[in-house]
Symmetry: D2
Subunit: 286 residues, 4 copies
Amino acid sequence: MTPESAILLIYCPDRKGLVASVTEFLAKNNGNIVSLDQYVDAPKSVFFMRIEWDLTDFAIPKKKVGEYFDTLIGKKFAMNWRLYFSTDTPRMAIYVSKIPHCLFDILARVHTGEWRVKIPLIISNHRDLEPLAEKFAIPYHFVAKTPETKAKSEEREFALLAEHKIDFIVLARYMQILSEKYFENYPNRIINIHHSFLPAFRGAKPYHSAYNRGVKVIGATSHYITPELDEGPIIEQEVVRISHTDSVADLIRKGQDLEKIVLARAIWYHIQHRILVYDNRTVIFS
Amino acid sequence: MTPESAILLIYCPDRKGLVASVTEFLAKNNGNIVSLDQYVDAPKSVFFMRIEWDLTDFAIPKKKVGEYFDTLIGKKFAMNWRLYFSTDTPRMAIYVSKIPHCLFDILARVHTGEWRVKIPLIISNHRDLEPLAEKFAIPYHFVAKTPETKAKSEEREFALLAEHKIDFIVLARYMQILSEKYFENYPNRIINIHHSFLPAFRGAKPYHSAYNRGVKVIGATSHYITPELDEGPIIEQEVVRISHTDSVADLIRKGQDLEKIVLARAIWYHIQHRILVYDNRTVIFS
Amino acid sequence: MTPESAILLIYCPDRKGLVASVTEFLAKNNGNIVSLDQYVDAPKSVFFMRIEWDLTDFAIPKKKVGEYFDTLIGKKFAMNWRLYFSTDTPRMAIYVSKIPHCLFDILARVHTGEWRVKIPLIISNHRDLEPLAEKFAIPYHFVAKTPETKAKSEEREFALLAEHKIDFIVLARYMQILSEKYFENYPNRIINIHHSFLPAFRGAKPYHSAYNRGVKVIGATSHYITPELDEGPIIEQEVVRISHTDSVADLIRKGQDLEKIVLARAIWYHIQHRILVYDNRTVIFS
Amino acid sequence: MTPESAILLIYCPDRKGLVASVTEFLAKNNGNIVSLDQYVDAPKSVFFMRIEWDLTDFAIPKKKVGEYFDTLIGKKFAMNWRLYFSTDTPRMAIYVSKIPHCLFDILARVHTGEWRVKIPLIISNHRDLEPLAEKFAIPYHFVAKTPETKAKSEEREFALLAEHKIDFIVLARYMQILSEKYFENYPNRIINIHHSFLPAFRGAKPYHSAYNRGVKVIGATSHYITPELDEGPIIEQEVVRISHTDSVADLIRKGQDLEKIVLARAIWYHIQHRILVYDNRTVIFS
């Protein structure tokens, strides 16, 4: 049995004594560090840290950890911080359209217990994947989207997300552009998979563009979405070699294997609280 | 001892009987196939082929092979074809500016006999790498380039290329844009290395752009140059993973290892006569 | 609609005129080549070829193709050859134990139509994955195996395979060693996935061995099984980087993504009839 | 200008308060952390750390840093530690036999200033690469080796290493096995490059073995040598895909590019003091 741990994600202006202050706070209160990763963006003089410690013998009660940390450390160093507990299970909404491979892969990982995550609902602008969701007993909400109904549809989606206390959203090949309100409500909490190595081949039909350009490598990119299409902070990328013998259909087939792996890695980092976003770049803590 | 072989590169409109006709021509004249690779671009209905055969017992004299082939096969099928002999040594000019790692890598490969190629001269718009060229006894021509002198400088370069009977040019991090006359004189015979996975990060300072975009993978691309900057047919690409901890200096360091490998592979394919260009894409025969 | 095509896989002693003879046979009978790949193992002087042609206008009736080919070409050159038709659907049996990720991935690909293949049955020495098979309505046969019952259990398995006219078997993390009779009955038709880059870490617990050895790269290998454990001809391999921070659990998690991809590629090559085995090595035609 | 920094490499039994103690020591003495990476081997309960800090305003004089650290921190926690300064230039001896590509690559990196390292001498059991060493004005010592002269030859080598105050040795395809005295004198300071992905294909002729086994991926491994051949702690590995069309000569050509890159990365980690060895595994700090 893994004991319960707490995870702090921190960023603040860099200065001397930051690591010492945080680790001393844990040491004095009998917290055993499970993992620590820190990084300084030297050109911008910003300090980033992820620290995870065992709560078993920790002197401060779980409910008070955030308050004490902020009072004793956070305020002093003007830290932006977030606190997570390993026993909390993140609640993930999945958005899909018609293409099933990413959804299938996510369902497999959740079904086999690879991830500690709950899927209270799937939302889709098509009915195609409803039978698949039913096989795994996950509520599937069809929310049609046309240019006319978009605002109203999104209101319904927000209601569903609120009702199910959704922590973050995964766009598993959801072929709709979300309005800005989404980014305001779920900043750095909407993960998308784009089927190219961004920034190459933004937008629609990247495999066709890759074929026409004659590249020798194709890729996939998972990123947090932002109002600028395919410009959000990149979480993970992977590539595979192709050759002139590969047709567009081959690129799609090979690329889909990339997509599901790259999306899965991003979800893994996210639910492990390993990602900090700063200046449209991600820090991925190890 | 590898016996002398002939290599045919062919492309033409696709139709039935092409492979049969070419291979029958060789079989009838006692040519043993060393390697054969063919490819059909189905959407465009174009046939591509590379065939290499042993000349030892071939019935047609070496000097007559092209003429016979064209008369008996090429004309009939409206083939574009080129004929090479394995015993001919391609003559390569290298263009450099100040950055040495690609030049160093090329000199190493030639010096150690990895490639069958001759380097009659190096041309540069700077004097920095002249001592390195001297170590390997390769004539180094400094040809200054300013916007005013460009036309005149290129005339001098063309004279040098002609004088030394240069077959193809390698831009080993040469930081100058060539005029259109170069493409006319050396179509698909000028290989460039660009330090990004094209089409991402075209133009100047791609490592800085990659850093700012926060990609998780960087790349390098070798391609034949065309009048559109960084838009020529791609020969080879390779990538390497990076992380948020990598500074721009780290990207440059890691990227340089990619650049030299990717450029070397392109040169290898070129001197092995394994590349056909069609519609701004390359067919790389195996 | 893709038209029906025929596929020939050939190997024979190398000599002049092989490609010409085969392609002339197709050309004369109005067969349009869809793809052709040939390879000569020069040290052993063996010729290998895969050729696929459109049957639409082919002069020889489908049922007579094999007979005519053998009479006119095959016998003359002492060819080993096999003939396939693109409209035939291969019948695949899956063997599993308790670990689900490879099975899940295969079911996803079949369910979404990525592969043209039929799964008439799943065989397992455990009941754990039966509910998953039921979700996709695939008959699941529990065949217990103990050292005492092994011979009898295999008899039952052979009966099931015969009854369902199985063409090939996929061991999707099946943790049992098959008897020699399997290799005799299904030579080069049993695909296994091993969770290491063979020949490193043969046998049990390769991730633990990889961890203890401190490698920086782990891999997965798909191969046809032979009587020597983990020594069969390799079809495909892939690797992923790891670091000292990865625990054995991390290796297993990262490795499972490799396993399913590497197994899927092998199945793809197999059902496309792209694999020839010779001297314990595979020729994978492109 | 990068300011001078100090680097501490530490390992010791894991316990609470380690990071706090080390970082507090720096903070109290006005040392600004440039980078910090720590890792706990949980199964073995061992703590590892690399910490680098700016010496500009550090309160303790450079010559006293080690003494103060040991008195105040190291002894208390039973730390194994080593202290380095960024302004010291490591002195590297290169051993070669006849194969030049790794030596060439190292010379290129040193010549172009990629590495902060000095090469006071090259030692070889052949004269072949002496002209190359001369081009770069590096003293080349021919030390013949036969089974009879081995002991005496090694004595001469040790004298040369001592005379030139060598810090570490790089075996750049040196085809001789060193005696145990080498490991005693230079523990974890002799870097070898082996041309396979260890533990596969140990010993001689790994490319031939890889060809015969029919692998689809070849690799290279850099490691510190130990008395057991090819069993030392692995520093870095890399692979490249191959296919059935690649001959042994192709494997050698493709593999040599891996070898030089993988060896160069290992040297880079070593001279950056990023490597700790424990239990025949390496911790590579980022």
